[in-house]
Symmetry: C2
Subunit: 763 residues, 2 copies
């Protein structure tokens, strides 16, 4: 028996070493270019801690309860390490639950914040040492569990605070908008190595219903002392503090050691129960080998990152930007299959669509290329949410739909899946879900789901001024109606197609033809329910003087009582949204007065600074030159935008990454391909890297070479696909997925490539 044990031990050890080798070897190939800090400072707000792909658990440092991702740069103090976060979000925060805080000292109720001495942030790995107490914290993760390794200085009183009451964005005002609100919490010391409990929180950015984050923590060394607390009272004898609507927590201690010593702690998370959290630990980390887990999560990443191989021509900086962009695209939404407290069935369950408004344009299309099965699962989750919960989300977090910022953009995601041939989706049911958005008003809380102002939109053909966000809602609903038309047509439902292809023109009902600004004619402008164009909008609450203010295509301000949610356009100006008709650029060009006028419109837009690099509404706009036969101008704009705004530093993302939206935009543009979500093609423009290979999951590969690419040679001269000349500046998804070779010959001057055959028109 003993010798068997030894044999087993040896095998285990060998396996572990082998895993580590594999990890270092494979990690060396792609994962080493992932720098989770890119986009962590400034507006990017990305999450810097370790995360598995679409990982439910995202443990990382929390610096005060204010920032969205938890993290702030040094020298901010670290409050502790919470287990659940989101990445790149704006507005009010969400999550930040189950905070652990290592410190040296006796168990007490105090918070022992500390400053960082250094910080090491890598793919799947976080490491810091606190200045005040010298504790080193290392951190890695599986899908649903965190793994901590705390190294305490010698002769220190090794303690860990486990705070079940902590969360991000606390606000003393009940039901304060976008603020998370405490509902309840619980803590229970189960044995001398185990603690469990939960944190129940409501509200947050999406003003959602209460969600509960359960945890189970197990240490590799027995506690020597414990303390639990509830509200203002603590006890060194009570092992449990039940939920009475108060904050609870525990301190666990391991006493002193004469030498520097390490305590390991695994924390399982679940949205069902603490026992399920324990089961997650049992299944995902049935060992105490930190390196083995780190190797595993890196291997998970490697399997995804290797789907696109940048060739030798790419610089280190480009590789860092590109692979980090892929990484950021793949950390949300999160896979919570089997962790849904609302219903049980066999469908996949995803949460933290945050928000589809941000991610439909480039994140979904990129996931479809990297992992079509994953995108299929995500789409099925969306449809199942409709089936069980009533509506597909435009955003969803903490198991609650909300908030919609404009359209019901799950429509785009579904249309994109269908036109790109994703199998295993019930598109008939999906169409029902889409039609529900388009026909059934969502009721009192119009930010939760569906389409606000729907009755007016369906009656008038536009959302009239007076209803929040009338401008972008109209523009987005028209696009969403186009998506419905697309799906209906492909399913052979001609009546529905006819109805919705007509509605896809509804943006024209807010197009004020003769309105001129900066020498450009025609803008999406506010219009009353009775059909009047409004030059002046009401200001303030006075019903006596009825004050107004002038509204123009550059108006970016709103009265003090109306944040973005109450303005005509959400997070944007008319200049931006008047270029945001992704399904009918030819009609937009015509409305703008033809090719010349449209080029002038685009040039004015970029040159006068109306283009907003830090938000999604203008994601497609730099490519609009393609539709007037000038892909060279698209390429020039894109290069300029990326050069000026993106880099591989912590400030390297110009806006909220929004679950990877900014990142996926960048990744596509670096490849010289850009999707128009909901439509089956990619526009071709000048790549920023000279060679790359897309390894598709169907076994095919697309090898792309940009010959002679250099700083000067940034204009496309000729393109060939599998040896056949390609005059058009786009390829179909079918062509991409059949793979082969795409040769792009570059030169230093614009050519006539792509000037004749324009991108596809609407179906």
């Amino acid at each position: 028996m003993h010798s068997v044990m030894n044999k087993r031990g040896l095998i285990k050890f060998s396996l572990s070493v082998w895993c580590l080798c594999i990890s270092l070897m494979t990690y060396a190939q792609y994962g080493k270019y992932v720098d989770p800090k890119i986009g962590s400072e400034g507006l990017g707000r990305v999450f810097v801690g370790p995360s598995a792909p679409f990982g439910m658990v995202k443990p990382g440092p929390d610096c005060t309860c204010k920032p969205n991702s938890g993290w702030l740069p040094m020298p901010e103090v670290v409050t502790g390490f919470a287990q659940v976060h989101v990445s790149g979000t704006g507005g009010g925060p969400k999550y930040g639950n189950i905070l652990v805080q290592p410190y040296c000292g006796e168990p007490d109720m105090e918070s022992h914040e500390a400053k960082r001495e250094y910080e090491k942030i890598e793919l799947g790995y976080y490491n810091t040492r606190f200045q005040e107490n010298g504790i080193q914290t290392e951190l890695t993760t599986s899908d649903r569990c965190s793994f901590y390794q705390f190294t305490y200085p010698k002769e220190s009183k090794r303690s860990l605070r486990v705070d079940a009451g902590f969360f991000l964005g606390e606000n003393p005002v009940p039901d304060a908008r976008e603020a998370q609100q405490f509902v309840g919490s619980e803590i229970e010391i189960v044995s001398d190595t185990e603690v469990r409990g939960y944190s129940r929180i409501r509200g947050g950015w999406n003003n959602g219903r209460a969600y509960t984050v359960y945890f189970y923590a197990v240490a590799d060394k027995p506690f020597t002392k414990t303390l639990t607390w509830k509200d203002k009272f603590s006890s060194s004898t009570e092992k449990a503090q039940c939920d009475e609507g108060k904050k609870t927590g525990a301190v666990i201690s391991w006493g002193e050691e004469s030498t520097e010593s390490t305590v390991k702690l695994k924390i399982g998370i679940s949205f069902l129960s603490s026992l399920k959290a324990q089961e997650n630990v049992r299944k995902e980390i049935p060992h105490w080998d930190f390196q083995q887990l780190l190797a595993k999560v890196r291997l998970q990443w490697e399997k995804l990152l290797e789907r696109i191989e940048l060739g030798k021509g790419a610089t280190e900086v480009q590789k860092r930007m590109f692979y980090t962009a892929l990484y950021h695209t793949l950390i949300m939404p999160v896979d919570r299959t089997g962790e849904n407290p609302l219903w049980t069935d066999n469908a996949p369950y995803y949460d933290d669509f945050y928000a589809i408004w941000d991610t439909y344009r480039t994140s979904s299309p990129l996931i479809t290329i990297l992992s079509p099965q994953r995108e299929t699962d995500i789409v099925n989750a969306l449809i199942n949410i409709y089936k069980r919960d009533g509506y597909m989300p435009d955003a969803r977090s903490g198991n609650a739909n909300g908030r919609t910022q404009g359209g019901s953009n799950a429509e785009v995601v579904i249309a994109d899946a269908l036109v790109k041939g994703l199998k295993g989706i019930d598109y008939e049911l999906a169409l029902k879900a889409m039609l529900k958005d388009a026909t059934v008003p969502p009721g009192g809380n119009e930010e939760q789901e569906g389409r606000g102002g729907l009755l007016e939109y369906n009656r008038l053909g536009y959302v009239p001024f007076g209803i929040d966000r009338a401008g972008n809602r109209t523009v987005e609903y028209a696009y969403n109606d186009y998506n419905i038309a697309t799906v209906a047509k492909m399913l052979g439902k001609n009546d529905i197609y006819k109805e919705y292809i007509r509605k896809a023109d509804n943006w024209k009902n807010l197009w004020r033809d003769n309105y001129e600004y900066d020498g450009v004619k025609g803008f999406i402008m506010p219009r009353s329910a009775s059909g009047e164009w409004l030059d002046d909008l009401p200001f303030g609450h006075s019903k006596v003087q009825h004050p107004t203010f002038r509204y123009t295509p550059v108006t970016n301000e709103s009265p003090w009582y109306a944040p973005w949610w109450g303005t005509f356009f959400y997070e944007g100006i008319s200049w931006e949204y008047s270029l945001s008709i992704p399904h009918d650029v030819p009609a937009l060009i015509e409305k703008s007065g033809g090719n010349e006028a449209f080029r002038n419109r685009l040039d004015t837009f970029f040159d006068k600074g109306y283009y907003n690099v830090n938000n999604e509404p203008s994601f497609l706009t730099p490519c609009l030159y393609h539709w007037i036969g000038r892909p060279d101008l698209s390429s020039a704009r894109i290069k300029q935008i990326i050069t000026r705004n993106y880099n591989d530093t912590p400030g390297g993302l110009p806006g909220n990454d929004d679950s990877g939206a900014m990142s996926s935009w960048l990744a596509f543009h670096m490849m010289g391909l850009y999707p128009n979500a909901g439509q089956p093609y990619y526009l071709i423009h000048s790549p920023l890297v000279s060679e790359y290979t897309i390894r598709l999951t169907n076994g095919n590969s697309l090898h792309v070479v940009a010959k002679k690419l250099s700083e000067k040679n940034c204009n496309i001269q000729h393109v060939s696909l599998n040896g056949k000349e390609l005059h058009r500046a786009w390829i179909n998804h079918d062509e991409l997925s059949q793979g082969g070779e795409l040769i792009i010959e570059m030169g230093n001057k614009p050519s006539d490539w792509g000037t004749e055959e324009l991108p596809p028109v609407k179906m």
Copy 2:
């Protein structure tokens, strides 16, 4: 120390004996008349197990998973005893969670159903013995915990199955309408005396979101064996089965005894967590004395039942009917303050409004008399649900609003509270909640909350045919609008008052003046959105033949695809709803062609059997004779209805008790007083008991004597209040709450009392 212990023991023992004495003494006075079996058979569907007033926990026998209250009469087999039930409900069931089943035998996964040998059902107490195994189960309860006493035969293998997967109304079809659906469950044997876990279920009658019933069970004897299971797999070694979306449970055993032996089991319930359930046990039952707990729950009841004392003239049967009616009125809604998993604040929290559509008429007014503080708490809970959840419920169960059957009848409850002077309610906020119902459409799921068809109702002044339940929705909305007018007026908001007092007339828009049926003119009838009266309604789905069927005031059937929820009137016919204008009977009389025609209308209604004794819409109708100056005819009808339909047997309620709606209707009528909810008066008619005293919580008492009352002397001759002759057939709530003496002189012939001064008109 030892002597102190003895002293303590003695004190404890004395206290226990004293409690028991108090219990028996006080129980003897009022509680002994409560027979929870009245209304348990036939349509009544009352819950027969023990319950504290408004008690969160309602443990009782479950016979299969079909019946709404769990219970079925012998000889049905008993599956076990679940801890949470509702009382008197129709439609699909709700709850039936955490089933325990005592049996004799080794731990196994089988269900050991058994037949009852006898059944003893008393206030706060249930007792049965199983034929198959001879186990006696006794049962009592506190607010949030059950207390079981199982007496096993000698030399039997004492086992108990704890089933966390059981619930009422299981249906294999996902999301089947009104069916409860399994979401998840968990079981954990914590020590050799403790088990805990939960059951998470969604759906049920109100098609609500998932709710979770947590439990903590503790036995007074250590387990000798245990077994746990998940899905189809069981284990005698695994102590816990975590939630993986499968049914779980445990069997606990206490081995054999040579003599008959008793095992006691306390089960705490919580909607927050198992630890909170444990805390509920600790707080509510810190002992093992079954009799003491029984005494306590009976004392709780005595404090409420003693508020109305029936005089010596009342028969045993009348006392049994009356006190059981009070009892049934006071078991729902349930007090879940401190047990709300959705938000935490200082407001009271009540659940299981099931439904206000049923209870607003007589249950709320009766609670206001018996315990105004309780009604205040309930109203505050309603308003707080609006504040945190968006809308007040018309029905709510399992922490989820739904389903509305007609109006937004929380409006009536609030108006009733205000006109009866309940303090400690933020009526300004309440008005906001009411106005939300009246102005903001509830969205896609119009059965959840608010007013379905609101836009059409507000545009046309009625709900047009084509929208579900257009008839009763219109009638009820008009009354709800009257309630809003009432509250607005009392708060000095004249603009709102004016708007809503006008809308209170909206029922007239569905009044088809010249429509004649059975010699009676004018009925609420279906009308199209364009204003046409509809004699024929569509039948079936054929869009080719467009078949129709004739709709008349007695039409009680609907096409096969349209249950009550899709018909013109909910659970009723036009004959009934055309008499259901509680805020404007004078206008109804005028619309009906004057007093004579109205009397004919009422007589026809009763004599031809259009009156439906088993449902709430006609609750007020027998009293409508008051408004034509004929309270004697009201009295005659009421006496006839009660004599024919109500008694003190298990079949003694003619319809679903609906949380005590039928019961409270009976209680008021036995007293010869009847409220018109939302209005500050009680109609006076012939009491069925000759003397009673209402002991108000303000310290006043109203002593009511019906002099010379007999089978023949059932007509009121004169009435005096505090010595002053009362010509009118009603008293104000103020008069009632000031107390004093109400002398009603009875005679054998109708008099001219109450013929002159008619009940108050609308404000």
